[in-house]
Assembly symmetry: C2
Homo-oligomer: 192 residues x 2
């Protein structure tokens, strides 16, 4: 077998993740069979499962990939910006991928191992949100009468709401002023 | 065949809805087979589908039942009270039923007929929320710098977020102060 360079391995991994994301978006978690994953990535099951143990691992890896992007955005601009990005990226693929995440809700409630593997990427976003809010409070831009934890959970509730909204295929166009309201609710009022 | 009185028919219908709700909660939409629906309701498929055309109709009828309860609460106390009720009713059955609703997200995006039948109960809650907000604005308890439509969508976003949160099996215990924040965000500030 020819030797494969690390950058080629990483490129192949990215290729598989992109194909898998599109496949989960189009067919859902259950519907994304190994055959469809092969078709969407253009690779054999042998090649795919050389990089990822199984379909579940592949699904969680796509979510981790998402979480890494989200953490970077949260650190610099906050969780509301992640929501604004979702609004602007509004398309069938985004909705489908979010929808496939909802599909596993029963498994999250009934399979502790899956739940703990799934919560790892989410936890990173939650931690980044809290850190940013702490920095914002120190900078005096945040309202001071509500604990950081409550503000973080409020933003996460809004984020979850947006995920459900988009995953259900509802129109995203007019949610920008709603996100303005979400953002204003955690900030110090102008007349303070 | 013996004649059945209308009140007996209505009681039987309620019985089927309660069993179906428990069945969808436990096994999800796809997992709730006709055999399981028979077991959970204690009735034959003949009896069940005498009242409801098919599994899809039964699922939508449970959602309509929910929506009717929600509309009554919204009219009197507002959508935030619906959320508070969900927090207090937090149990495996509630989470399971909400989860089964998420499961159909792909169908909502890809099956226009199902989507329109599903959106009817939701629309009733949306309309009741807008009506109540209008009355509250007239009464002067609402903030006056944001359109009713934006306030309604904001409350719906929070509601959707709570549904996702509970459906994913996450802890509900500490969300009460978050709902206080949601409620405060639509009200006129005390120092106005």
């Amino acid at each position: 077998m020819p030797r494969v360079r690390p950058d080629q391995l990483a490129a192949r991994r990215r290729e598989i993740l992109a194909g898998a994301r599109a496949c989960f978006a189009r067919y859902g978690y259950e519907g994304a069979t190994v055959r469809l994953l092969e078709k969407e990535t253009g690779l054999s099951r042998g090649a795919i499962f050389h990089h990822f143990r199984d379909k579940e691992s592949l699904f969680i890896a796509v979510a981790q990939d998402d979480a890494a992007t989200m953490v970077a955005t949260v650190e610099q601009f906050g969780l509301v910006q992640v929501m604004r990005d979702l609004l602007h990226r509004d398309d069938a693929d985004t909705a489908g991928w979010l929808g496939s995440q909802l599909e596993v809700s029963r498994r999250l409630r009934t399979d502790p191992d899956f739940a703990s593997r799934w919560s790892a990427p989410t936890d990173a976003v939650v931690a980044a949100t809290r850190e940013r809010l702490s920095r914002q409070r120190d900078a005096g831009v945040l309202r001071s009468d509500v604990p950081i934890d409550t503000l973080a959970k409020f933003l996460e509730l809004a984020y979850d709401g947006l995920v459900l909204h988009l995953a259900m295929g509802r129109a995203a166009g007019d949610l920008e002023p709603v996100l303005d309201l979400v953002e204003a609710a955690v900030r110090r009022p102008a007349h303070d």
